[in-house]
Amino acid sequence: MDLHLLPALHPVTAEIALQSVHVVKPEPAVTVEHLVKRYGALAAVDDVSFSIREGEVFGIIGPNGAGKTTTVECISGLRVPDSGLVRVYGLSPQNDRDRIREFVGVQLQESTLPPRLKVGEAVRLFGSFYLDPLDPSELLETLGLDRLANSVFKSLSGGQRQRLSIALALVGNPRIAILDELTTGLDPEARRETWAFIARMRDRGVTVVLVTHFMDEAETLCDRLALINHGRVVALDTPEAIAAQAGGSKVRFIPSQPVDDETLCGIPGVNEIERKERYVTITGTGDLAGSLINALAAIGVRMSDVEARRGNLEDAFIKLTSQDRSSAQDRVRT
């Protein structure tokens, strides 16, 4: 039973439905199960499963050609999966495409407008496609496009085009916004502004699906992430958890007297040791710096020039995708 759509369309039926169902489990906004999409012999998406909760910002990250765009295109109904199941509020993007298009706003990666269409005309036109659109002039103002309302598309800069593309995705007041390569081509200031805008959308309760290859963007904006590589989900968790999973903490220091590898390896959390001139660099997990300082102080070694860096998403990304690559190569060899 489609509980999310019912209150809006048939209040009475929805009430009855709610009374008869005692425990209402929040239904995911988007469900993807065992999704497979092939182009010829190549499986662009190979058994991808995840679900997106209502109101969260869900990031899909991964290297170029990992299958990110194909995955979201299956959600928005632009592509038909070869197998697997995709549901958007319980609806099928293929069979119920007309209904889904009403409340899913899409930003496409490589799509431009007719060169002489003006910014204001485009936003008003798209607004007219929907039943309950946002006010076009307010939206233009929020995205800093109000001064460009009378500019034709071909005269816009890359960043302005990108913001217009976001405006077109949002003017229909969607419940789900699918944004593909949101900030590619934007300057740092415009990126920050766009991020702030996405955060405001989330606060209004819009579910956002964000495809990106910028790790800082994923870390800042996303509640949860799916890391996709070679068409498979490699990690599915919060950005913090994925960063921790890769265990990329690093501590670099100069010991007051030489310490051998054996001693260092005995310290909890230490995984790798690197030496360069007088510097020792330790990679490991947990509170690495803390345990190093304590353990070395106990044997009378002082650390100087200490530089500690916590593992971030980028480290995790590189680690997880390269692991995957080497295991893929192994599969090829055997």
Partner: protein, 259 residues
Amino acid sequence: MTSSDPAGARGQRSRHQFIELLKVQTKLALREPYGALMGIAFPAILLAVFGFIGHENPGNVGDTGLTIVDLWIPTILVIAIIAISISLPNTLVRDREIGWLRRVSTTPLHPSRLLAAQLISDLVIAAVAVLIVMFGGALVFGASLHVQILPFGVSLLLSIAEIFALGLVLVALTPSQTIASAVAGMLFFVLMFLSGLWVQPAQVGEPLRTIMYYSPSGAATRALLDSTFSGSPSYPALVTMAIYTLIFGFVATRYFRWE
């Protein structure tokens, strides 16, 4: 979805959509006047050229009892329609190539409405072209038109339907704007020849005359000529056009791609 009457709201929205779309389409057509320039300027020039030729060579052409301007006006009308139709890929293939049609397909607007708006704006251009050629021919060059409204209207509408459908076939089958332009250029000359621009079907021998009569543009010229001067429409020409319209319409819709 906030409306208490979704069906009524949808109907209202549907009209609102289409009006907005037509407004935008008209503005774009004025900013990118491929169709308007080709469809209006070109026949106007042709009319002037044949007007002056007729002025230099007054009187009958062959034994038809018609002047040169009389005889060529239907051809010029058909060429105006061809010129507009041939410029369809300039917008539609381009819009597909840049991902605009695909973008629109993710909204509740059905892309077929985009197509309909494009065709309506081209239909308006065609109507303007027809008026200029008819009235220009009669008022400026003294063409003696005895138009019979019903047969002429039917012939004109079928000509537009058939030749626009041919333009949509071009849109459906050409992968890029560059290829579309090349094919459109060649097709334009073939269709102009068959419509009798260089030599009228009445002036040539068999089998060329039959080929011209039963070609898409030749049939249009013949139907218009007959309904303008002989008073009774040429049924074979009308049937020929109807068949072409069906075939072109089928191919254009069967192979049309939004992306």
